[in-house]
Point group: C2
Chain length 143, copies 2
């Protein structure tokens, strides 16, 4: 049951909530011992705050749940590749694993040569089509 | 009166507050039309949150003050060169100018080749000694 696809679907549900709020639809969950301990979706417009990315909120929330700032035994599932800001936060958190739905060639951290913590494993391409389509359709409908 | 040194001293006051809380002493202010609209100091230990850097808090606070998420006519004065996370947030904010006290060769964004927004001016070395010493002394006393 607790497959990467299962948790990415949960992240996609968060992206759907963002879409309903007319936010760029990106969502994530943070998992600790097969349990979702934090959820986040993009809220930059609603909060008028460029720092209110899904991942930033989830990192803060997960640390609060765990009672410590390091997420060493946690996995982040995120629908779109994190930006430089979120990658920087993930590095500080020393998170164990980052699972990415769709790549973001322009704004994502990978092409900008930002490195996560040396111990962080990165996996990409889980439910890639769904994660990519929800963002593409959002911008298509904006035009 | 409103020289870069004046505002950097204000950022140093924030760093002093962090030091009193036993946080790594880094502080900043954001200035709009010669007025300080946001202040921040590192709170990562107190809040148990790796995202609670001085700059992140000040960016959120300044956007809240201005009622919009872009800081296009603002200047950040920060005692230590921002990390990759904070640089990413500054890029999203499109801030006009970033004034740095001391460089951070290891953790700072410059040596990690992270670029700010193309329109953001960067100045470095304002009250460099004071800004550097407060961090060095903090870690010296920790040993």
């Amino acid at each position: 049951m607790f497959t990467p696809e299962y948790f990415m679907k949960q992240a996609l549900q968060e992206a759907e909530i963002a879409k309903e709020k007319d936010e760029v639809p990106i969502g994530c969950v943070i998992v600790f011992k097969d349990r979702i301990i934090a959820r986040g979706h993009n809220l930059t417009e609603q909060l008028n705050d460029v720092t209110a990315h899904a991942e930033m909120q989830a990192i803060t929330s997960a640390a609060n749940f765990l009672g410590g700032k390091y997420l060493k035994d946690c996995t982040l599932y995120v629908t779109l590749e994190p930006c430089v800001m979120c990658a920087g936060a993930l590095t500080w958190s020393q998170i164990s694993k980052v699972v990415i739905g769709a790549r973001d060639e322009n704004r994502g951290f990978i092409n900008q040569n930002v490195k996560l913590h040396p111990k962080t494993e990165i996996v990409s391409g889980i439910l890639e089509n769904e994660c990519s389509e929800i963002v593409k359709n959002f911008f298509k409908n904006k035009r």
